[in-house]
């Protein structure tokens, strides 16, 4: 799958979603058992806590072809580990500021508190984010050629679509 199509209508956004085991992942399970339909663009990765999400994960997702990253955690005060979601909030707040300096739109990183009973909210958030990123278009990074390539002087410093990991 390539995300380098030029026409926005052909563009299928890829969203990497990190959901916490105790709340948001359970909510997405609930959405599934309740047969709610929502955009298939989010690839869900279950983590034990939103506090486990290292900002490096978000950068790695963009690097490897994500057009957006969604993070789901427990509501403030409800964290299974007391304060993991607050740690996540502090990191993501600062990360968003850094990403805006790097030209990445704020819609491409979204943090949501979704409890285990809010399956409908998973549906709404994923649909909404898919629409927003579809409107923004693909995230085109400017990544140098793989190391030691002798093609570097003529090619790698011209903008190109990012590498795609299958």
């Amino acid at each position: 799958m390539s995300n380098s199509q030029s026409k926005p209508s052909d563009f299928t956004p890829r969203i990497v979603a990190f959901f916490c085991n105790w709340c948001t992942y359970t909510a997405s399970d609930l959405a599934g058992t309740a047969r709610m339909t929502y955009a298939p663009n989010a690839r869900i990765i279950r983590v034990m806590c939103s506090g486990r999400i290292d900002p490096q994960f978000v950068m790695a997702a963009y690097r490897n072809g994500a057009d957006g990253v969604l993070i789901g955690g427990c509501h403030p005060g409800d964290c299974h580990y007391q304060e993991g979601n607050y740690k996540c909030l502090r990191r993501i707040t600062l990360l968003k500021r850094m990403l805006s300096q790097l030209g990445i739109e704020s819609e491409r990183l979204r943090l949501e508190w979704i409890s285990a009973s809010e399956g409908d909210r998973v549906q709404r958030v994923v649909n909404e984010m898919t629409m927003q990123i579809k409107a923004l278009g693909p995230l085109k990074l400017n990544i140098p050629q793989p190391e030691h390539s002798h093609a570097v002087p003529t090619q790698s410093h011209t903008p190109k679509s990012k590498e795609v990991v299958s």
Binding site: Y62, R91, R97, T158
Partner: protein, 325 residues
Amino acid sequence: MSKPKIGFYWCASCGGCEEAIVDLNEAVLDVVAAVDIVFWPCAMDFKKSDVEAMADKEITAIFINGAIRSSEQFEMAELLRKKSQFVISFGSCSHEGGIPGLANLYKKEDLLSTVYSTAFSTINPNYTLPQTQTKVPEGIATLPELWETVKSLDQVIDVDYFLPGCPPPVKLVVDAVTALLSGNLPPKGAVLAPDKALCDDCTRKATKPEKLQHKRFYRPSEILIDPEKCLLAQGLLCLGPVTRMGCDWACINGNMPCTGCMGPTSRVRDYGAKALSAMASVIDLNDEEEIQKSMDSIVDPVGTFYRYSLATSQLHSAIHTNGGK
């Protein structure tokens, strides 16, 4: 028996790395006794043609400092790679893109327009820009081409070892030269510095509290810095927790926080993201608005966390095609 040949070359750098060689002081005499310096444009009169005349792999080790951001630097890096057995990436710029790597926040045309037009001290009404080729009565004069982005050395040629630091500490340079001469070498691709975080053996470690908790950060100019106490505990953005040791705490001993020039340890893939994570976790606030306000105390997140490593970060450069700022 002829002595091993070594050389030094500089690309996009400030000259501080050359200073680091001079800082060897008397030890440089031992180095010169053991090796022949066959190329060092900064200090001695050698030309590119001297290198071209050498046989392949004739130079035992070449130390290249500075980032790669022009066709000329790339050409020299490739030539020196061909003529050398070992290429050692010397200093932060060569290792991770360094301070010049922050140019990757901007488009090439914006950099050129700042330097050649809008800068305070520039008068250039015709907006004359450097050209790669210019016709002159004698023929065609050429200049190297500036690249769109700044790259680290290992993003353009095969590199054997890395000597980190801005500039690399003398002790590490001596150790590296000794290892090269004795043939007692680590695996290819190794960073020639201890693989531990700066905080691990910090002279101020005893004063670091169990849990760091701050409402905001301070810049060194905003507070009186206690010369004994852990700098993070004083609310300064000290990047010791995420930075490789080997500098002998030069900045810490000078009562200034670590800015991360030694780069990450081997476990970290994106230095800036990891540093951001460590610093954001220190903020002891739960309310979204208060967190936003406290983050205002970090004035320039990219310049703080990617100060030396933007070019080798996961994103490599800012994105302009999507209409970002």
